[in-house]
């Protein structure tokens, strides 16, 4: 083995387990055949141990008590209110969004296939909108029934949607699309309202 200067940084990194597995393997193979580096490794270990002697300052025995006496003068953190409703509302919102997506996809598929077959797409779209409005109203009512403080409001919203739906049943496509938009918006607004209400609890 030719004379070489041991690499302190590499050796200390090896001792501290900071080397990669490959580098660790390499250095271990090298150490097996290099006495100079084995001596340096021994020296490095002692050196690190001795620098570690700087960590020998003991805090006073009553340190924790002294800190906690000062902490006790601070107001304790308030635990956040129990919010089981938040999860319920979150699920409801997710359910509504899923239903909208599924129904929309179904309507699109039906319209596409009927369009190919030359059927009346407006009628199909109307059916899809009607179904969506009904489902959204149901979701709003369900959310409302779960949440007593917001229940009256949610139910009122659901009633309004159903009235709009009745009015739009025999109207043209534009009105029905308007009802759809109103339904989805109300759905969203009610859910947000419920979530905000719960966060304030």
């Amino acid at each position: 083995m030719s004379e070489h200067r041991p690499d302190h940084d590499r050796l200390s990194a090896y001792i501290e387990g900071e080397l990669s597995p490959d580098a660790t393997r390499w250095i271990e193979l090298h150490l097996e055949k290099c006495e100079t580096c084995r001596e340096a490794l021994d020296q490095e270990s002692r050196f690190l141990q001795q620098i570690g002697a700087i960590r020998n300052i003991e805090p006073p025995q009553d340190f924790t008590e002294a800190v906690m006496a000062r902490v006790a003068q601070q107001p304790a953190f308030q635990p956040p209110a129990e919010v089981p409703w938040r999860k319920v509302a979150g699920w409801s919102f997710g359910l509504a969004a899923s239903l909208v997506a599924v129904l929309g996809l179904g309507a699109w598929v039906a319209i596409s296939s009927e369009a190919v077959a030359g059927a009346n797409t407006t009628g199909l779209l109307s059916s899809a909108i009607t179904g969506l409005a009904e489902i959204s109203s149901f979701v709003i009512s369900t959310v409302g029934s779960f949440l007593s403080p917001a229940m009256a409001l949610a139910r009122a919203g659901a009633t309004i949607v159903l009235r709009l739906f009745d009015l739009a049943r025999n109207s043209g496509l534009a009105v029905q699309l308007g009802v759809l938009l109103a339904t989805v918006t109300l759905n969203y607004v009610f859910t947000r309202m419920v979530l905000n209400y719960q966060r304030r609890q």
């Binding site: 002697a53 300052i57 635990p79």
Partner: protein, 201 residues
């Protein structure tokens, strides 16, 4: 261990103020050692360490559980230590300048800069030399070496605490060790080829 830290933080934030004592007990030694090595005075270090734990308590709600708690705590400790060091640097008066009294001038009485009962933490000359050598390092090298050896943080935690890339942290630690090896060569003299080569490099 770190998961436990997060669980304790959560308990404290949920109103169990007394659980904060667990965190103080867990980190008091590391914090006092770190601050003491940064400031160089035991009494001041204990006072500042108490302030650090109080600051950490006040700011506990801002702790992000995705980071290690130790790194977050040491970032607070570091800022406090740096502020204290800056504060100390401000008013400087030449110690050689004579003092003017009504009945003439006199010399200042200056406390010895040598070890005092408060500043002797290590027993024996060997430990005193290591302590003094660490204290003499430039701040940018002293900080990581103290965090590594006095506070026992991992390289990754040091990088988080100092908000530096891990490569920079390693480089600074290696250079600090090199400087310590040089200044303490006579302590380690035992014909070590490693230290001999470090001395000549």
């Amino acid at each position: 261990m770190d998961t436990d830290d997060r669980a304790i933080v959560e308990a404290v934030l949920n109103g169990h103020q007394h659980r904060y004592a667990d965190l103080v007990g867990r980190y008091q030694s590391q914090i006092v050692n770190y601050v003491c090595r940064m400031l160089g005075n035991y009494e001041d270090a204990v006072d500042l360490s108490q302030d650090i734990f109080l600051k950490a308590y006040s700011a506990l709600a801002t702790y992000q559980p995705r980071y290690p708690f130790a790194a977050w705590l040491f970032r607070i400790a570091r800022n406090a230590a740096i502020d204290e060091l800056r504060r100390r640097r401000v008013p400087t008066v030449s110690l050689d300048a004579p003092l003017e009294f009504e009945d003439g001038t006199g010399e200042r009485e200056v406390a010895s800069l040598g070890p005092t009962p408060d500043t002797v933490y290590l027993e024996g000359e060997f430990e005193d030399r290591i302590s003094a050598a660490v204290q003499a390092l430039p701040e940018k090298y002293r900080e990581p070496i103290v965090l590594r050896h006095a506070a026992d943080l991992s390289y990754e935690e040091i990088a988080d605490a100092l908000e530096l890339p891990i490569g920079t942290v390693k480089t600074r630690i290696f250079r600090a060790r090199e400087a310590l090896r040089r200044s303490l060569t006579d302590l380690f003299e035992d014909d070590s080829p490693a230290l001999a080569s470090a001395e000549t490099s």
